[in-house]
């Protein structure tokens, strides 16, 4: 008895999930209408390069938020890890990978420090990371002696600015390698969706009607391939996009398929129940903060590479962008709800809005106001949606 849900049923049931994607498409459509350059290959490449570090931070942030905590220190940690890397590579002439490894190690140590206070001492994450925000900002300034260091140059610079795979498979005017990678991604996505659907049918769960399912896949494939084609026309596949794809895939598996991920959701959903069920609450909390520190280290590398140097004031307010991305992407303020894919969409919405408004020459002050309102409306929509679900 397989129930086939109609389009309307699907849309209303997944309003929160689909709403965010629809909102994203509407915003993209709006900006492409307002500015003909918005969807140009060069600008699409730019959006990816410009906001990659926010996407990386949002992955870790959504996990912290699902846990029922928050991390206000990531901006300062981005500055600190970038600073350590810059001192090693620029001032002491170490090879690029020493800088990368040192930055990641510092991120992990920072995560362990904050995880220790939250998990084992029992101080709320809000307080611990507020302290961390000041502490690590100060440390970053100390490490840099309060001056900027630049340039990295070479391989380190290419991490966030390079297109190492461009021309690997040749092609005239379009990079074949980029198209092949996007093709593989689309096919892989289609196969996994098909298997999920078959699984749901085998367990007699609700699925969309077949034409609707195919239509959805074709639409997604078309959009993704179009995006890939635009990149291929420009400079090919940015290195940072490869890093991002690997991170998003890996963390989707960790959050949705691993025991660790399941326990993060359980703790955020009902701390007492999780504890009484034998979930190791302290360990899971600790490692979630360590993971956030590691990803802040990755973002620190990417940002310093992108800026081709380290500044004491780098990464200011990044935490708020990452937190906003997670909430716009459907994370719940009370914990237990949120997905990596949602946070990525949320971060892209922020990225597209910033980029679009910059292209149109909207003043910085207005940009801030618009972003603030979008965050407020997104969470208000979530609250309204929840009430509606309860009333039913």
């Amino acid at each position: 008895m397989t129930a086939i849900a109609g389009f309307r049923e699907m849309v209303t049931r997944n309003l929160r999930q689909s709403g965010i994607f629809v909102a994203f498409l509407v915003i993209v459509a709006l900006f492409s209408f307002l500015n003909s350059n918005f969807l140009s290959p060069g600008n699409l490449t730019n959006i990816v390069l410009q906001y990659s570090y926010i996407l990386i931070l949002a992955i870790g942030m959504v996990m912290v938020i699902v846990l029922g905590q928050i991390d206000l220190s990531v901006g300062s940690v981005v500055a600190l890890t970038g600073a350590v890397s810059a001192v090693l590579v620029i001032r002491h002439g170490q090879p690029w990978w020493v800088g990368v490894l040192a930055a990641l190690a510092v991120g992990v140590v920072v995560g362990m420090w904050q995880g220790f206070w939250v998990a084992y001492v029992g101080i709320p994450g809000f307080i611990v990371t507020l302290a961390g925000m000041l502490l690590f900002r100060g440390l970053a300034q100390r490490v840099l002696d309060n001056v900027s260091l630049s340039p990295f140059g070479g391989t380190y610079y290419d991490i966030a600015n390079g297109f190492s795979t461009n021309g690997l498979l040749g092609g005239y005017g379009v990079d074949v390698f980029t198209l092949v990678i996007f093709g593989i991604a689309v096919v892989g996505f289609g196969v996994s969706q098909w298997r999920t659907r078959m699984g749901r049918i085998a367990y007699q769960q609700v699925v969309e009607a077949l034409p609707l399912f195919v239509l959805k896949l074709v639409a997604i494939a078309a959009v993704v391939m179009w995006f890939g084609y635009q990149l291929a026309q420009s400079r090919g596949l940015p290195n940072i996009l490869i890093v991002l794809a690997v991170l998003i895939l890996a963390y989707s598996v960790i959050t949705q398929r691993s025991v660790f991920g399941r326990h993060i959701y359980a703790i955020g959903g009902n701390l007492n129940a999780a504890q009484l069920s034998g979930v190791k609450v302290r360990q899971v909390t600790f490692w979630t903060f360590v993971n956030m520190g590691l990803l802040a280290g990755v973002a620190g590398v990417v940002f310093s590479s992108r800026m081709n140097g380290a500044q004491p004031g780098a990464g200011n307010m990044f935490e708020l962008d990452a937190i906003a991305a997670a909430f716009i992407g459907g994370a719940s303020t009370t914990g237990g709800v949120g997905r990596v894919t949602g946070a990525m969409t949320g971060a892209l919405i922020m990225a597209v809005m910033s980029n679009g408004m910059q292209l149109m020459g909207v003043p910085q002050s207005v940009q801030q106001m618009v972003k603030g309102l979008v965050l407020l409306l997104a969470v208000a929509f979530d609250v309204w949606n929840k009430r509606r679900a309860e009333a039913r």
Binding site: A266, A274, L276, S277
Partner: protein, 306 residues
């Protein structure tokens, strides 16, 4: 209070009917049939049934616990055998929940001995208790509402392959356990937030069957439920007995207790205050023991009944 008492008296008649109806529904697999005390389980869930029928699955001897100046438990004894539902009743503050928490590893006794399956055990944490074969449904915080039924059933003991979860297998076991309980949960992937209060309690009870326990402790499982849901939960408890488990049931509701349990142990001021055969005891006798109108010499009564 008087209003509540009269309401539940009328409930009892309904439930007796409902209970027997549901009992007739267990007609399929071997070991089903009647809710009779001596039905041997054929091992659908209960690998636990290897324990000899006379050997106690749980034996609590002279357990004491104090919180500061308050003596919560003083030299309490409790014995539970396989295929037996033992109800723990008493007024508020009588020590029922404290005893349940000691059995399920949440609290540590100050003095006394715990034996599970004849072996003395120490239960420093709920997961140690679960390892020893004690599964508990805690009063309020049983489930994570943001997770689905399967995730809740396996929470804290997920089936894994290295670090990834074996979702397909967990779903299969979940379906089997819910079937064993004859429950009416629509799908094992339904989020718990979409379930009714009764269905949630069913999930909480089904949780106890993961990992073949020998003893199930239920702390006020019907406290917040409607009449129909209560009847359903009581049939689940009977089903646990059929599966060969020992059950400790804590409840305020004497009607529920008398409908489903084999033996009723009364606690008063943290001490044993009588042990009754649920089939023969009258409401008045129970109330007297609970309120302290009768002071029963503990050792003699429990010996008489064993």
């Amino acid at each position: 209070m008087p209003g509540r008492a009269s309401a539940s008296t009328s409930v009892r008649a309904d439930r007796r009917v409902a209970g027997s109806k549901v009992a007739d529904r267990f007609d399929g697999p071997p070991g089903g049939g009647k809710t009779g005390r001596d039905v041997r389980d054929e091992g659908q869930v209960g690998e636990a049934v290897g324990v000899g029928r006379r050997a106690p699955v749980l034996s609590v001897q002279q357990v004491s616990k104090r919180f500061g100046a308050v003596e919560a438990l003083v030299g309490v004894d409790l014995v539970v055998r396989p295929h037996e539902v033992v109800a723990l009743v008493g007024d508020n503050g009588a020590g029922k929940s404290t005893l349940a928490k000691i059995i399920s590893g949440v609290l540590q006794p100050d003095a006394g001995l715990l034996e599970i399956g004849g072996e003395p055990v120490a239960l420093p944490s709920p997961s140690d208790a679960h390892q020893a074969g004690v599964a508990t449904v805690f009063q309020d915080y049983a489930l994570c509402e943001n997770l689905d039924v399967t995730a809740n059933l396996f929470l804290g003991r997920e089936l894994r392959e290295r670090t990834l979860m074996r979702e397909g297998e967990m779903e299969r076991v979940a379906r089997r356990i819910l079937h064993d309980l004859s429950s009416r949960i629509p799908a094992v992937r339904t989020p718990v937030s979409h379930l009714s209060a009764g269905q949630r309690q069913t999930v909480a009870i089904a949780r106890t069957l993961i990992g073949s326990p020998r003893l199930v402790v239920l702390d006020e499982p019907t406290a917040a439920l409607s009449v129909a849901h209560t009847a359903e939960i009581l049939t689940h408890i009977e089903r646990l007995r059929e599966l060969g488990l020992g059950v400790v049931l804590i409840s305020h509701n004497l009607n529920d207790v008398r409908a489903v349990s084999d033996r009723i142990e009364v606690l008063r001021h943290g001490r044993n205050n009588g042990s009754f055969d649920a089939r023969h005891v009258s409401q008045e006798e129970l109330l007297a023991a609970i309120t302290g109108a009768t002071q029963v010499a503990t050792s003699s009564t429990s010996d008489a009944l064993l």
